[in-house]
């Protein structure tokens, strides 16, 4: 196994394109565990942390561009980003311990492609766009189009997720992420729900995105869940409807962390409670 730490995106792409069995190293909190467990055996590891653009948060067109290798600790300390996208930050900060937060990144969380990745439903709800760099240049795709199944992504040879664009937020927009785990922290989501909604001046919901994690092979983005909120004041009836359609959209498996039946029920509860938090935040802006 070879280790390379290029300082430019072009060099990283060239290295990744040069080796069929190359892996990107960002925070390493999944990669090193997989190396240790011999579940992967790459011939090349490309450390992207020396590429400045992958480590910084910058303003762009009224929104934010977040480097894919920005850590949970760094994003949590970015007061401006946190005030605009508290749901994204709380999702990322739910991952692991203090030690893990020092290293773990949103790019890694997305590309590890676990169905239970906490930051992914929050990014999807926020409408984040992944900018992918590769041998043929740069392309932008919605975050929900990156993972294609557990441990699999749509990235082609030589490509890497370089950054995320969080577009300019409309006034009175709030986001939130909640997950269910059977303990207080340091666990993997049994169910996760990200909600982002926008209110007009009269308090009616004019835009909504709902994403559900850990209840299918991929994070789900059920239109009917967003539709349950659209045009409403996010009142009791709308929340009840959201809960119902979110549960109906869930396609979970049974495993040691939760039964299928339990996950389906909790999906509705998490979606509803996340929507209530997002609503309060939207009203506060």
């Amino acid at each position: 196994m070879r280790y390379e730490a290029p300082e430019t995106m072009e060099a990283a792409v060239a290295l990744l394109a040069s080796d069929d069995n190359a892996r990107v190293l960002a925070g390493g909190t999944d990669l090193l565990v997989q190396l240790r467990a011999d579940t992967i055996d790459p011939s090349l590891v490309v450390d992207v942390k020396k590429i400045d653009a992958m480590r910084t948060v910058t303003a762009e067109d009224g929104g934010f561009r977040v480097g894919a290798a920005v850590t949970g600790a760094e994003l949590g300390e970015h007061e401006e980003f946190k005030s605009v996208w508290p749901g994204v930050v709380e999702a990322l900060e739910l991952i692991g311990s203090t030690q893990i937060q020092s290293r773990a990144t949103m790019g890694g969380n997305l590309c590890n492609a676990s169905p239970a990745a906490d930051s992914v439903p929050a990014m999807i709800a926020a409408g984040a766009i992944a900018t992918i760099e590769g041998p043929n240049g740069s392309r932008d795709i919605p975050v929900e189009d990156v993972a294609t199944g557990p441990g699999r992504t749509s990235l082609r040879k030589g490509e890497l997720v370089a950054s995320f664009l969080f577009p300019e937020q409309a006034p009175r927009t709030g986001d939130a992420y909640l997950r269910f785990i059977p303990r207080t922290e340091m666990d993997i989501a049994v169910v996760g729900a990200g909600v982002c909604l926008t209110l007009d001046e009269s308090g009616l919901c004019t835009a909504a995105r709902v994403s559900l994690g850990a209840v299918a092979a991929l994070a789900l983005v059920p239109d009917e869940a967003a539709d349950a909120l659209m045009g409403t004041s996010v009142d009791e009836a709308a929340l009840a409807r959201l809960s119902e359609v979110a549960s109906a959209a869930a396609k979970p498996i049974d495993d040691k962390r939760g039964t299928k039946e339990f996950r389906i029920q909790v999906t509705g509860v998490m979606a509803r409670r996340a929507a209530e938090i997002a609503l309060a935040r939207a009203k506060g802006k």
Binding site: G27, L32, Q99
Partner: protein, 158 residues
């Protein structure tokens, strides 16, 4: 097999070492630099026994490649006492008997020191959350938490 020449600062000293890409920072600290205070517990980032500071951030050294440490500043348990003089946290861990087997202790001390540098007056809840990545199977944590909070009070001059 490729070996990488790495220069870093460990506990304030410039060090050079050769490592293979398969070696973690934990392997390098213990096997190449013979700093065996840092312990291997789970080797998967769950237990915190291998906690060190890397460029001012608390990390599990089992989840960092040795080759990644180039030009980095690393602080380990060996840098905590000043000569024979224990760090206040070390003394309080003794006073409170905040350890039994001691295997988790270096990691807990490094993690607790990082907490107090960032937050000199932490609440109990904050302390428990901060240290949640450091597992101790002996003490039940209570003595550890009390030792950390009492150290914080002492360091604030209370």
């Amino acid at each position: 097999m490729a070996r990488y020449h790495v220069s870093a600062t460990v506990n304030g000293d410039e060090v050079d070492f050769l490592c293979e890409p398969e070696q973690t920072l934990l392997d390098v600290l213990r096997d190449e630099l013979h700093l065996t205070g840092t312990k291997e517990g789970c080797a998967s980032g769950d237990c915190g026994a291998c906690s060190v500071m890397l460029d001012g951030r608390l990390v599990c050294s089992c989840l960092v490649m040795g080759a990644e440490a180039g030009d980095c500043s690393i602080e380990t348990i060996e840098g905590m006492a000043e000569g024979e003089r224990l760090h206040p946290l070390q003394q309080k861990f003794l006073d409170y008997a905040a350890l039994q087997c001691g295997y988790c202790t270096p990691g807990l001390l490094v993690a607790a020191k990082a907490l107090l540098e960032r937050s000199p007056d932490p609440t109990e809840i904050e302390t428990r959350y901060w240290l949640a990545g450091n597992l101790c199977r002996c003490t039940g944590y209570d003595k550890i938490i009390r030792a950390v909070l009492d150290t914080a009070a002492e360091m604030r001059g209370e």
